[in-house]
Symmetry: C2
Subunit: 125 residues, 2 copies
């Protein structure tokens, strides 16, 4: 989780119309490991998460050096839900600034259930 | 597709036991846009793809500068299947060298159906 926290961006993986979908986003990791991302209400991610019951998503971050071929990847699997509390929304809008120049009116929280990872090390000769 | 071809690695997104799964891999893009990755027979990816009918996966590559907040992301959605032809397997084993120091005995081809992408540009002031 601290590797993921240290990463400037990650990729949220979800199912949309029964198809695997992925998009890069920037994030905030709260105490307790909850991952916060901001998106648009009209986005595919929002429509996948919206609804009465939380949906399962994966969240991946990595830092891999393609020249030395070393690095790490962390994958968090957990339940995603839309945050509706206006105070929390206001707080995340202060803390987390999307990199996309669009109105990001939806805040999504991912609660980790499974955390896995790999580390690439220098190849043995 | 040429952006994806230029990327040293990508992330394959699939469904495993009804859960969204993702892992970083290096790839080769063939003429015609077929994406080739190598994996282990015992991997989650192999067991998701193995079988008589192809499965739908997504393949994502990106190059995003977290400081300037510019870059791109390409997502290919398509059918994945295991390659069984020994000549093709031998050829890919020559051309594509996994970065993970394990026996990678399975070759998977992803045939693109949908190609989408985003480009992050400097924010308007």
């Amino acid at each position: 989780m601290w590797l993921l926290e240290s990463a400037p961006l990650g990729r949220v993986v979800f199912t949309r119309d029964a198809l695997p979908a992925i998009r890069p986003v920037n994030h905030l990791v709260e105490d307790g490991g909850v991952i916060i991302v901001r998106t648009q209400l009209i986005s595919r991610l929002s429509s996948a998460v919206r609804g009465n019951s939380p949906v399962v998503v994966a969240y991946e971050a990595d830092d891999i050096d393609p020249v030395r071929r070393v690095g790490w990847s962390v994958v968090v699997t957990g339940l995603a839900h839309t945050i509706t509390d206006p105070d929390r929304i206001a707080r995340y809008e202060q803390l987390l600034h999307p990199w996309v120049d669009k109105v990001m009116d939806t805040v999504i929280a991912i609660e980790p259930t499974i955390v896995t990872g790999i580390r690439l090390v220098e190849k043995r000769r």
